[in-house]
Symmetry: C2
Subunit: 488 residues, 2 copies
């Protein structure tokens, strides 16, 4: 098991690919860039989906479903949108044995088809707001793909809301950004920086794009979710107008936002180790695995299995997501490795010694084997609750320490600052907080020079003074503090 | 409201289309034959999905996700499969700005891509059974479409299982058939006939197709779900072999099965009336709607709303799916009609008279207005539980009576039987239970003559004797009792 996985320190990229395959999260399909999400990988997605779906509904959003196929002409109606998505489109030209008069594209995102429908649905301010979410598959023809992180087909949710006023739409954009941040931090135990994207990195068709940026263990950043304020761009493109309270006709303000199966990639890359996956308890499809330690004696084994099964049933009743491993052929060591590979947060060993003591032995996935200990069956439930909670906190804290350790400030304060910046980005990677004049020229020069991009204008540092700071590249007056990083 | 809906008796087809639009279940999209499933329609689908998903998981099935795009060549590997699906395929020929070397089809069903993966996953009997389900969108290029019943894109679940033995695969096929039947009868309150399809009506690539057939209010039948025993057809096409317990290599036995958003069409057509939708309580997204009856007095209205809100909160805590209508502008009559249009099972009226008495007034969607009555707040919960349960039973019973009334036996017993059969099918429609020799010639002759097809060889009558019966068409010896009907 464990030895099929490359070392994270030596071959990070192979390590990642080994984990997704060995833990049976995905498999490669015969269609280039399209992954098969296997049952265990899909179970993680179902956990993510379940939690987010509930949060969306609690806050007044409804689910709906819009067509996969979009007339190409729809994309052309928003100039930047079509520019941004054209290179990635897959196009249906033939259907039902006939060449189509108008080609249909597979949705790369659904703003156009949805706003076409909103033009039918919105007539008066009484029809607003519309807050619709869709769970769907998306196709973007990517040149270089990697399971979960960038695939030709992926699963996501996309929210599309329509509002009377600019303020309301902007506040929805930030509300969702914050909902994402809280979810990713609380459930996935991944610390994130939030903030606006630079104009260059904006979603094609947005007025403002807000992003959530996480740091992987190879110190590259990953965009984990985005929330866009679309202004009137799509309302104008699809002529969506309504009669406002004053009786005047006006266009509708829009937002859109999404997270995808990419989150599973982030989850793997932030927490896992050379033994395999490590899943935060709150998102793990299986929180606990009971592993009876069988002997060479059938009668003893019968009793061990009976004892383990009683505990299993008890924990199920207590609403733990628990599994039991009844494999009698393989060694305990092999079975421990399998459970570790799958990232199950807590292992519960049941041996004959445990039975004698009225105990079980529990081991946490994120700690080494010397830390495992016996717990009496009586105390088991409450002890497990504690361990799962503290594991969740520990994983977040560890990731946060790593992120902070790898977030460096290198401000523009003179001509040689950029040299320091460049050397640091090249050698250390991570996030670099720096000062920028706001020009796309500097942004592009830095990118072509270092491969680092502006990840966002972080909210976290928005109260910091820019006094005396200059652009890290051109040395003119700084207008923004921004986070640079190499990224996925 | 109600008056936008055509009369079921006069214009059945328009009545159906009016309901799906007026109750905001679907809207037409700009892409021919593709529907937009609106929030209320999607909420019904989420209820169906939630219940079925739980039943699949309880019985050892796991969810996964396979690619939308399938190499055309895969379909060609199973001769009947490609013959059956070729006319309906949508084909991607261009992607990422380039013409594809090999065209990719949008999945019309996923047997081929899944069995291609199973060939990688199955090596030994220890890898079996595989019991995977997928929730996905499906594309079939249909010439004549109708919302929910037949659309170019629809949502469904498709189960694909792999087994060591023929017996196990056959038993899975029937297990799922029975699961579907129970679900459709218990939750959707739709009585169904189960049975095998004739060879002509079989799924393209199956050894045996089992179906579930329901009768709509226009006395046409609707296929509501299918479960296929695929034998070794796909294992052979994709060379899926395993080492069995004796150490020999053998092919894997397969099943596949699915139900789709078509079920929503059945739900509408079986229960609804000229006022709109009627939803069985167990599947209704909203079981109860509280409608405060406002007056022309603000202070009275404040108290009515407060009283109604207390009841609303109470019923929510009791886990009812309950909504409250705070609309103060429209008349109670208008608001009652809206709730009726949406098919909400029970309406709870709260007027000032109710408050004085410590009561509310409850009205069931499936009964006329003279049957509404007052209930004390104290007894409300238990009374509502009773009403919802008995409404569920009543709807099923009513549909069953209708179905039985419209299921006629006309057996082949002599030369003039077919004339009776034909007249009956033409004039009365409904199911006709008849005797058949088993030849495709007779089956096709009957179809071209009467437009009725063999819906299934029903399980319900399998113990009936065929003695002295002849084929209703050719008068030779009868081999099967079959149900004929005109259908969707």
């Amino acid at each position: 098991m464990g030895n099929f996985i490359a070392s994270k320190e030596e071959e990070y990229s192979k390590w990642y690919l080994d984990i997704v395959q060995e833990a049976k999260l995905v498999d490669y399909s015969p269609v280039k860039g399209c992954m098969v999400i296997m049952p265990y990988g899909y179970a993680i997605w179902e956990r993510i989906k379940g939690v987010l779906d509930e949060k969306f509904k609690e806050t007044g959003h409804e689910n709906a479903y819009f067509p996969l196929l979009i007339p190409y002409e729809f994309l052309e109606r928003e100039k930047k949108h079509v520019e941004g998505f054209s290179p990635e489109l897959a196009v249906v030209t033939t259907a039902g044995g006939e060449v189509l008069a108008e080609p249909l594209v597979l949705r790369p995102t659904s703003e156009t088809i949805i706003w076409n429908m909103y033009s039918k649905w919105v007539k008066s301010y009484r029809d607003l707001p519309i807050k619709i979410n869709q769970w769907a598959n998306i196709i973007r023809w990517e040149k270089r793909t990697r399971p979960f992180l960038r695939t030709t087909e992926f699963l996501w949710q996309e929210g599309h809301t329509a509002h009377e006023t600019e303020e309301e739409a902007e506040s929805e954009t930030l509300f969702i950004l914050n909902l994402y941040k809280k979810f990713i931090e609380d459930y996935l135990a991944i610390p994130v920086f939030c903030g606006q994207k630079s104009e260059k990195e904006r979603f094609a068709g947005a007025v403002a794009t807000y992003t959530i940026e996480a740091l992987m263990q190879d110190k590259k950043a990953l965009q984990a979710g985005t929330s866009h304020y679309l202004g009137l761009n799509f309302a104008k493109a699809f002529d969506v107008r309504f009669q406002n309270k004053k009786g005047e006709m006006q266009h509708v303000f829009a937002t859109s936002w999404g997270v995808s199966t990419r989150l599973i990639g982030a989850l793997i890359m932030v927490h896992s180790d050379n033994k395999g996956l490590i899943l935060p308890p709150k998102i793990a499809p299986i929180e606990l695995i009971i592993i009876p330690i069988f002997k060479r004696d059938d009668e003893v084994n019968r009793r061990i299995l009976e004892y383990a099964t009683t505990i299993f049933e008890h924990l199920k009743r207590e609403k733990f997501r628990v599994d039991i491993d009844k494999d009698i052929k393989n060694s305990p060591g092999f079975r421990f490795s399998s459970a570790e590979l799958k990232g199950i947060p807590v292992r519960i060993e049941v041996g004959s010694n445990d039975i004698l003591m009225g105990c079980v032995t529990i081991a946490r996935r994120d700690k080494d084997k010397t830390s495992k200990y016996q717990v009496s069956v009586k105390e088991l439930s409450s002890k497990l609750k504690d361990e799962l909670e503290s594991m969740q906190c520990d994983l977040f804290r560890r990731a946060l320490e790593f992120r902070n350790l790898n977030t460096k400030e290198i401000m523009g304060v003179g001509a040689h600052s950029y040299a320091t910046f460049k050397t640091y980005i090249d050698e250390h990677l991570g996030f670099v907080l720096s000062s920028w004049c706001g020009s796309e020229m500097c942004e592009e020069s830095i990118k072509s020079d270092t491969k680092a991009t502006i990840r966002c204008i972080p909210e976290d540092f928005k109260n910091r003074s820019l006094d005396n700071l200059t652009c890290i590249y051109c040395n003119t007056e700084a207008k923004y503090l921004v986070l640079f990083a190499k990224s996925y």
